[in-house]
């Protein structure tokens, strides 16, 4: 997990800047941008580490990407790193949302803005799908992980069952099978 030689040390200021970049690029959700930055550009995490960190972030309560920021920040630079990563992720969108709120209260809904949003959301759907596809391509070539990925996709995406029930039922089984198959 150490940075490769030649890369700058991963300290709180760098974590703040990196997560600010992720946050400010994150139109339609930050996860695709987190993947792009942390796995593809900075190579701080492998595909599998990203999926594993995200899985833990989803298991814990709270916004997934904030939990990831806390875990990654802590791993590289302790409590200060965790706080720097979270701050980078939250501060800029907070200011943007305040400006958005003021504009929204003053101008309401412009048809032009609505049209732009519909085009942007079609792209956003593609970004989320692409991230899922890329993460899936890092999975082991074995039927077991693919079965669990297919089950959670079907239950949430196709059947639209409640998330808590699905994860509550699927997660223990997935962990047990993973633990049992290791021996």
């Amino acid at each position: 997990m150490d940075a490769t030689p030649g890369q700058p040390a991963i300290d709180p200021p760098l974590l703040f800047v990196t997560f600010s970049q992720i946050s400010l690029s994150g139109f339609g959700g930050t996860l695709p941008w987190a993947y792009r930055m942390l796995v593809e550009r900075k190579a701080w995490l492998t595909q599998r580490e990203f999926a594993e960190t995200l899985a833990l972030g989803q298991l814990l309560p709270g916004p997934n990407v904030c939990n990831m920021a806390a875990m990654i920040g802590y791993r590289y630079a302790g409590y200060r790193g965790a706080f720097a990563a979270l701050a980078g992720l939250i501060v800029w969108p907070f200011l943007i949302m305040i400006v958005t709120a003021i504009l929204y209260q003053r101008y309401g809904e412009l048809p032009l803005v609505q049209q732009a949003l519909s085009g942007m959301s079609a792209v956003a759907a593609g970004l989320v799908l692409s991230t899922g596809i890329k993460m899936a391509s890092g999975m082991r070539r074995h039927w077991r992980p693919w079965l669990f990925a297919a089950l959670s996709f079907a239950a949430i995406g196709l059947l639209r069952w409640p998330l808590l029930a699905v994860v509550g039922a699927l997660a223990p089984v997935a962990v047990f099978v993973s633990w049992w198959s290791r021996r």
Partner: protein, 175 residues
């Protein structure tokens, strides 16, 4: 809306943050019930608009709670909802991380990470699928989504250009 309302909203959202397993969208229905139906601080339409704007603006999708907080209680309300949803889970996550960092290679910790990763990947694909179903109304926007998938999985171009393209096509009335 006075200070005690802001305080109760802060407490309610803090409580919800601990139930937001799998992401903030898990507690979205209850947030809506609290601010719209129970307290009438904003209309259902305003809540839906806040959510849509939160999706479009840069940053984590959960930042729509900042907009909800601002609508309800101004700047203090915005700080209240944002802090309520991020800080308690942050502290909890750090506590768990500190524990697991010392036991990262324990067989159970490895099994938890390995076992849950595929479930998460399935959820990610499901989110994309649900977004696709809720945003795409015809073949042109579906095509735009598929082109996005092709470009993002096959090339290293910044997706920001695709977002800009989507906005442009939307304004031009193409999608």
């Amino acid at each position: 809306m006075d200070r005690s309302d802001t305080w109760s909203m802060f407490l309610h959202f803090s409580l919800l943050s601990f139930m937001a397993i799998g992401g903030v969208s898990a507690v979205l229905p209850d947030m809506q019930r609290y601010v719209v139906e129970a307290n009438h601080w904003m209309s259902a339409k305003q809540f839906a608009d806040a959510y849509a704007l939160g999706q479009a603006a840069p940053g984590p999708n959960m930042m729509f709670v900042t907009l909800v907080g601002y609508q309800v209680g101004g700047l203090i309300g915005a700080v209240a909802t944002t802090v309520a949803l991020t800080v308690p889970p942050f502290i909890f996550t750090l506590a768990i991380t500190r524990f697991t960092a010392n036991n990262a290679d324990a067989p159970l910790a490895v099994a938890i990470r390995r076992g849950l990763a595929p479930v998460t990947i399935g959820l990610m694909l499901a989110s994309g699928w649900v977004l696709l179903r809720s945003t795409d109304h015809d073949w042109r926007s579906l095509l735009l989504t598929l082109v996005t998938v092709a470009v993002v999985t096959q090339t290293r171009y910044s997706p920001l250009w695709l977002i800009a393209l989507g906005a442009g096509l939307g304004i031009a009335g193409v999608v």
